[in-house]
């Protein structure tokens, strides 16, 4: 079936809701100056101690457009929901239809008014003193993942797998001048074919759990010898990375082999039926850390592999997940920009099957992992640490824990401890950022 002939999602304005400084109305004022009528609303409400802003989200299926009686509102191909002031008769139907605070009925002029993103250069963003408003180039996302998916559809991964999504996106961004490396684990279903049928037209190598970085070493050295800059990219799991294959990984990192190593971390041996690995979170139930009267899930905290990799002094290390696609793409690009050193990406990849969550929950879990500080998004670019998605006000840990059956047995105290550990992890990275912001 064909995909919907839709306007492509393009750039958009992002607002960190409720993160404005008190008394600041810079966005609304700048908008009013630029556009005669303010389209962004500063929600500066000292009476309820709230300071934020709202504006149109440029809906994909705008209710305002559907309600407009004169065709004055159009969803343009470029994504902007544009209001034609010369067609607007001021009936107000759009303002009734929109529940998002995205369209304003301007009393004085008897016309509706709404954000048109200043055609991609929003005055409000320029005026925002804190970065609460930002211009997110979603169109660049489409440009970044611009290559066709090189893998066949219908591979044998579970429906709803976050790793598969990340895998496909990774190679849509990288393109075709690449050798793909895998190891026994879930994602190997994508890397390698079964019998004589391959899953991809990319050259691919499935190694052992113990030797992927070493195989890559040999391949990349040989390719460079032939004068080729073909990328060598591994996409392997946390068992391979953090446990049985850690030695080879550490060796290749220390030698600074020019490869990109991506670990999709589903926190356990999922392919063998959900056993704990060293990255399994504390308290999580797995088949080897079951819950009974004398045991309550994994006793130890997760091994922080990305941090270990950062301290190998390699060119680039980052954590990422597909719930933060912009961040993910940027990090892939930065990792690829490293041509002569080792780059490591640690991808948080919720496994709804092994984590005891519904099939459609992987992205939400990934999102909340970040928002609760369980999984901070950061990078260490040539030793400079940076949190790429700051979480100033973390959501309560329960928002994360409640999504997964693997934590269901945890009592309030154990949950709180998880929350504290997440906080500590976040603050450790913060401290590193402060210490190694400029090296």
């Amino acid at each position: 079936m064909a995909t919907a002939a839709l306007p492509v999602l393009r750039d958009t304005l992002a607002i960190d809701f409720g993160a404005c400084p008190p008394g600041c109305r810079a966005c609304a004022e700048a908008c009013a100056r630029a556009r005669t009528v303010g389209r962004i609303t500063a929600l500066d409400l000292p009476e309820v101690a709230f300071h934020g802003a709202v504006t149109c989200g440029q809906c994909g299926e705008p209710a305002c457009r559907d309600a407009c009686p004169t065709g004055a509102i159009v969803k343009e191909d470029a994504g902007v929901v544009r209001l034609s002031e010369t067609r607007c008769v001021g009936c107000g139907a759009c303002a009734i239809a929109c529940v998002w605070g995205g369209i304003t009925y301007d009393l004085g002029r008897g016309r509706a008014a709404k954000c048109d993103t200043c055609d991609g250069r929003p005055a409000c963003v320029e005026a925002c003193p804190t970065g609460t408003l930002s211009w997110v180039e979603t169109s660049s996302l489409a440009r970044r993942f611009r290559h066709p998916d090189p893998f066949t559809p219908g591979v044998g991964l579970c429906p709803g797998c976050a790793a598969e999504l990340a895998f496909r996106l990774t190679f849509r961004l990288i393109g075709e001048d690449v050798v793909v490396f895998g190891a026994p684990g879930c994602a190997v279903m994508l890397v390698t074919g079964l019998n004589a049928s391959a899953t991809t037209r990319l050259p691919a190598v499935t190694g052992l759990m113990t030797n992927v970085p070493s195989l890559m070493t040999g391949v990349v050295r040989q390719l460079r010898r032939q004068g080729r800059r073909t990328r060598c990219v591994a996409f392997v799991g946390d068992g391979t990375t953090a446990d049985v294959g850690f030695q080879a990984l550490s060796g290749a990192a220390e030698r600074g082999e020019p490869v990109l190593y991506i670990c999709y971390d589903n926190e356990g041996y999922m392919n063998t039926g959900v056993q704990r690995s060293s990255t399994t979170q504390q308290g999580a139930r797995t088949m080897t850390t079951p819950v009974g009267s004398e045991r309550s899930g994994k006793a130890q905290a997760a091994k922080d592999v990305p941090l270990l990799m950062a301290f190998h002094g390699v060119a680039y290390v980052a954590t990422a997940n597909v719930a933060f696609l912009e961040d993910f793409a940027a990090k892939l690009e930065r990792a690829l920009a490293v041509e002569d050193g080792f780059a490591y990406l640690h991808l948080y990849s919720p496994c709804h099957v092994g984590w005891g969550a519904p099939m459609d929950s992987a992205l939400e879990i990934a999102r909340r992992a970040v928002e609760t500080r369980v999984y901070p998004l950061w990078e260490a670019d040539h030793g400079r640490f940076r949190i790429t998605h700051p979480v100033a006000r973390p959501r309560p840990i329960d928002d994360f824990v409640e999504l997964m059956g693997r934590f269901r047995h945890l009592g309030p105290a154990e949950r709180a401890a998880l929350g504290r550990a997440a906080d500590e992890r976040y603050r450790r990275i913060e401290a590193l950022c402060a210490a190694f912001a400029d090296v």
């Binding site: 609303t41 559907d66 309600a67 004169t70 303002a95 009734i96 605070g101 009925y105 301007d106 009393l107």
Partner: protein, 421 residues
């Protein structure tokens, strides 16, 4: 190939707001499906909402098409103008067109809108009684409007008042009289106090209001006509326009087996009693936000119902949230907005605030907001509607909502949307 994957043919009767919203939804959900959009009228799709604005000269006919022509070329939507449906044969999955041809469908949407109700009055001379719901009505009216003409508008509802305002706006010495049986204008939209203010505004612009009186008879009088009112007075006029209400345009469906009450009866998925037949917009009688069924002939409801119908026709089971009364009025630059309930009930609390001409009133059932009306105050009716639908406990923030309605409502709505999301 599975049955679901087969490209299907959706027929939509009516190229208004509801019909087009359905097209957008189908196109998005099932881009390979074929859609035929039928309109009884020869004009490119438009909304009757524009009639007063056209009459007042605020906009001209070149700027009212609901979609550019290219919209229909793009995607598989065939628009057929001047193609009135005359009958429905649900058993054979066909509609019959004015020219006698039959058109088969896989799913059918009835979005034929509403038509003007005829007032019950004696008209022995067969005097022409105009309506004001279609472009054709407007053209007829325009043709009869000479400078200084006297226009009698029957009914002070939304359409009648908009017509009156447009006529005043148009100028050229036109005299307007509005005859209304209730003791106030806009009886279903405002309480007596606000209605009184609006009436005064109209009178100050020279509109004669005959409230508390019905027109009982119409006859020729010299070169013009004359109405007889229920208090015995006569109202001379050159043109008489009936704006006594609208009802579903469902006459052509008679005999089809379709269940029709005050409108074509539909559930939350806009499904009628006939298989694969849907209805949306002014023609439909569907559930309101609190579940009671009714016809709610306004744009946002037509748009929402049309979208839900389209998605269901495309095989995506989606339910309509139910319509919520909401209206925005702009008379002579004075704006009034109502959302939710307008009439207070004994068990509810009313909180109000007045600052000069600006005033607002909120109705609360316990902590929940159930109704809001504002005059001459910038508000966000969509955000208020969200608070009412979701039953957001807003009472503790009543002060904020009255003092700064836009910010207050948007803030509360955004917080609750974050929770819902």
């Amino acid at each position: 190939m599975s049955a679901v994957a087969r490209a299907r043919h959706h027929v939509i009767v009516g190229a208004g707001t509801a019909g087009l919203s359905a097209v957008e939804a189908i196109r998005r959900a099932c881009p390979d499906d074929a859609v035929t959009l039928l309109s009884a009228e020869p004009d490119p799709p438009y909304s009757p909402t524009v009639l007063p604005h056209l009459l007042a000269g605020r906009i001209d006919e070149t700027r009212i098409a609901l979609r550019p022509e290219a919209f229909f070329a793009r995607g598989r939507c065939r628009l057929r103008l001047g193609a009135a449906v005359t009958a429905l044969d649900a058993e054979r999955r066909q509609v019959r067109l004015g020219d006698g041809a039959a058109l088969g469908y896989d799913t059918l949407l009835l979005a034929s809108g509403s038509e003007s109700l005829r007032p019950a009055l004696e008209n022995p001379d067969g005097v022409e009684l105009l309506a004001f719901t279609r472009l054709g009505d407007l053209r007829a009216l325009r043709a009869r409007l000479h400078d200084g003409a006297r226009v009698a508008v029957l009914g002070a509802g939304l359409i009648g008042m908009e017509l009156a305002e447009a006529l005043v706006h148009r100028g050229r010495g036109i005299h307007v009289a509005v005859i209304e049986q209730e003791r106030q204008v806009l009886p279903r939209s405002f309480d007596a106090e606000l209605a009184g203010e609006i009436a005064a505004l109209f009178e100050s612009r020279g509109v004669a209001l005959r409230l508390g009186r019905r027109a009982t008879a119409l006859e020729r009088a010299g070169r013009g006509v004359a109405l007889t009112l229920s208090d015995g007075r006569r109202e001379p006029a050159d043109v008489v326009v009936a704006c006594v209400g609208v009802g579903p345009r469902a006459g052509f469906l008679a005999g089809s087996g379709l269940a029709v009450g005050r409108g074509v009866l539909v559930d939350r998925r806009m499904v009628t009693n006939l298989p694969d037949v849907y209805a949306a917009g002014d023609v439909a009688e569907g559930p309101s936000a609190d579940g009671t069924p009714g016809v709610h002939p306004v744009l946002p409801t037509a748009a929402g119902q049309g979208r839900v119908a389209g998605l269901n026709m495309a095989g995506r089971p989606v339910e309509h949230e139910g319509w919520l009364p909401a209206n925005a009025f702009n008379f002579f630059g004075r704006v009034a907005v109502t959302v939710g309930a307008t009439e207070i009930r004994p068990e509810w609390a009313s909180l109000a605030r007045t600052r000069g001409r600006a005033r607002g009133r909120l109705l609360f059932a316990g902590a929940r907001l159930v109704g809001a009306s504002f005059v001459e105050v910038p508000v966000d009716p969509g955000a208020l509607g969200w608070l009412i639908r979701q039953g957001v406990p807003a009472r503790e923030h009543a002060e904020l909502l009255l003092a700064r309605p836009v910010e207050g409502a948007r803030w509360l709505a955004a917080l609750s949307q974050r929770e819902v999301a």
